[in-house]
Symmetry: C2
Subunit: 425 residues, 2 copies
């Protein structure tokens, strides 16, 4: 099959009919397949279910003189703070251990910035005339939504192979209304890009006009290689400190994709001054987070070295799924010449750019054929991809057999949408 752009209208029409026939056959099967969200599979959850029986006796719940069953220890139990410091390369005093959701910690930071201000805010963000937030795109829809929820204007920053376009970032932060940026520095969602050392250095050395500019550093995939060796990653907190910007960065991580997606533990890491500031703010809303679950995790995960061993178990389950995606795209889409995609070594996604103007239609067709995908546009501010081409593929949830089927349907839908587009011209 030659590239679509080389075909005549008649040839395109024949391709269309062929694909359409296959599409109708799929539709008739009333499939229900899901590649919409970065959800771990049942097999992955099973492989870490030893977590359920790691604490069984009352006495197991007592650690360092703290009874984790009772109130207290707002910032997290000692060993949990040490664990996260080990994982991220920062200090225990620079951590606040949260509940199951790092998203909730990010939300709380922005929410508190809005209602009360951050450490260096001249006033709460709700008293600013206008605020803006930088959104490297394609990016994570839930990040963008948090900033939008608090009235920020979302500004798209392009993604490059080294991370966000730092020329744009450095330009934008000269505007004092620009209050922050969302980052997924390792295996970015959805591109799977690892920010380069130069990008990190430029982030640490930013000189924003806003004294309370916040780098929201969502290190969601810090140990999430599924192909090749673990790739060490610098500690952004000490880099910012060395550059004279100690309080500029708020880092986040969680065990959502290490243990249980719905019942892990999360962390915020930042300068000690920031952690003290937020611990004080958090004391208004809670007495403590779930310390039993913290201890359960620390007893099970032990330390970074052992966590990396567990991640190799996940990798064994994840790698074949990314292979299915890659093979299907190479076999079915590459020859048609209208799309490109990444081949990440970690994270949870494959980011694909299809023929401009056809992503939405392709996913509409997927839906008709019983394959649920992240909505088109979701990876851009306001859910609008200006070129209507980016699609996030999340292959982690379905078993390999289902995934193969889902990718067949998906590729057919991509082709159908592209062919419709070309035939209309």
């Amino acid at each position: 099959m030659p590239a679509y752009y080389k075909l005549t209208k008649d040839e395109l029409q024949r391709e269309y009919e062929k694909e359409k026939l296959f599409f109708e056959q799929c539709k008739a099967q009333k499939l229900s397949l899901n590649m919409a969200r970065g959800k771990p599979s049942k097999k992955q959850l099973d492989t870490v279910s030893g977590l359920l029986t790691i604490l069984t006796e009352a006495e197991d719940c007592i650690v360092d003189g703290v009874d984790t069953r009772n109130y207290g220890e707002l910032a997290g139990i000692k060993c949990a703070r040490e664990y996260w410091a080990d994982m991220l390369g920062c200090k225990p005093e620079q951590t606040f251990v949260g509940s199951v959701s790092s998203l909730n910690l990010m939300f709380d930071v922005i929410s508190r910035a809005y209602t009360h201000g951050l450490l260096h805010s001249p006033r709460p963000w709700c008293r600013e005339e206008k605020i803006k937030f930088l959104c490297p795109s394609p990016g994570y829809d839930r990040h963008f939504r948090v900033a939008e929820f608090f009235g920020a204007e979302l500004i798209t920053v392009d993604m490059t192979w080294d991370g966000p376009n730092m020329d744009q970032v450095e330009q934008y932060v000269q505007d004092p209304q620009v209050k922050g940026i969302w980052c997924v520095p390792k295996y970015s969602n959805p591109d799977g890009i690892i920010y380069s050392e130069e990008t990190l250095a430029r982030f640490a050395n930013l000189k924003p006009a806003a004294p309370d500019f916040a780098i929201m550093w969502d290190n969601a995939y810090c140990v999430h290689e599924f192909r090749g060796e673990y790739k060490p990653f610098p500690d952004i907190i000490s880099m910012c400190e060395a550059a004279g910007n100690p309080d500029m960065v708020y880092e986040f991580a969680s065990t959502s994709k290490i243990t249980f997606a719905g019942s892990g533990i999360s962390v915020m890491a930042a300068s000690e001054a920031n952690i003290q500031h937020f611990t004080k703010l958090f004391s208004v809303q809670m007495i403590s987070n779930d310390k039993i679950n913290q201890l359960r995790h620390i007893r099970y995960l032990k330390d970074k070295a052992h966590t990396l061993e567990i991640m190799r178990r996940h990798a064994k389950i994840m790698a074949p799924k990314f292979r299915v995606v890659s093979e299907a795209l190479h076999r079915l889409i590459l020859p048609c010449g209208f799309a490109e995609w990444n081949e990440p070594k970690g994270g949870y996604f494959v980011s694909l750019n299809t023929m401009p103007g056809t992503a939405k239609r392709a996913l509409e067709l997927c839906k008709q054929a019983g394959v649920e995908m992240t909505p088109a546009g979701a990876t851009y501010p306001y859910g609008v991809d200006p070129r209507d081409r980016n699609i996030r593929i999340a292959p982690s949830l379905p078993p390999v057999e289902e995934l193969e089927k889902a990718m067949d349907v998906f590729c057919t839908c991509l082709k159908l949408a592209a062919l419709e587009h070309l035939l209309e011209q």
Copy 2:
């Protein structure tokens, strides 16, 4: 020992010296006793530690087709919503199951009212010129602090034996700046009062000027009898609905004092419209709460009937402690005639009014003698008790032997502060 008010200056002086001697002896013992917070004791936590082993296998985590280990079910798993509906007498659709902390749910309601507004808010509270919150006092310091945190002016409402003074409440709600009220309707914190049926009816029938007036109904002690039988309590949500105020009340509860104080599950209950509204708002900040912990709780607690059985185990541990408090006060304070206190049948506190102008000093003396108490004034808005007389005694944490010692010290400090006060006059 006769009542202090009958004594001459010389007799008071002799009493003072006697108490002072005992006080100095206590001080020399370098005690470290705690009656500051409503924390369950180790014995209570041990009695429910079967919770730790109720889910052990991967397959145990699947319920009603939902894998609780994965993302999803933002409002809580079905059986957890049913459990809370059973407990509170409302419908499952009227519940949102939260994380370990009901305080966090209350905070989120007020926080969202401030940033976005409630269902019937003309505008977010942060865009109001001024907001006010009613605080029946003595009350719970953490409630008051949440409203204060969001800039509300706190208005003291007197507590009566039937609950808040409803004449005052009905008067105050005619002011459109009055946006809500904090209530602990059953075994109020700290008075241990159960709101009367008339009080409940007057709450349900309030006609506030603010269309978004919020009754914050913290039913923290809904099944927390430690003496006598369980006392059924009407469902405020259906009462408000019947009175034409369906969306006026937000009810809260948790298992913090049923299972583990730091690792329970919580709930917000409200009209279905309110729950839908908040589920949508919460979808911005989280994907789901800890569903494994929800299921763990439901499997362990089963239903309301079985929960009441577990509460009887707690009662067996709690009752002797409240007896110690009561006996010490009767023996040491009653004859002196300068203080009065409640004798609750449930909840976690004894509320004591000592000689006006001496509460702060008494607790300062307690501190010197190694007995930690809730700070004086904490039960009033802004931490200031206008008569400086209310003290919250929280006897749950220390074992009985320690509690006896602590109460001896406490009573001596009460007396010393009263005697100092009388001698100064």
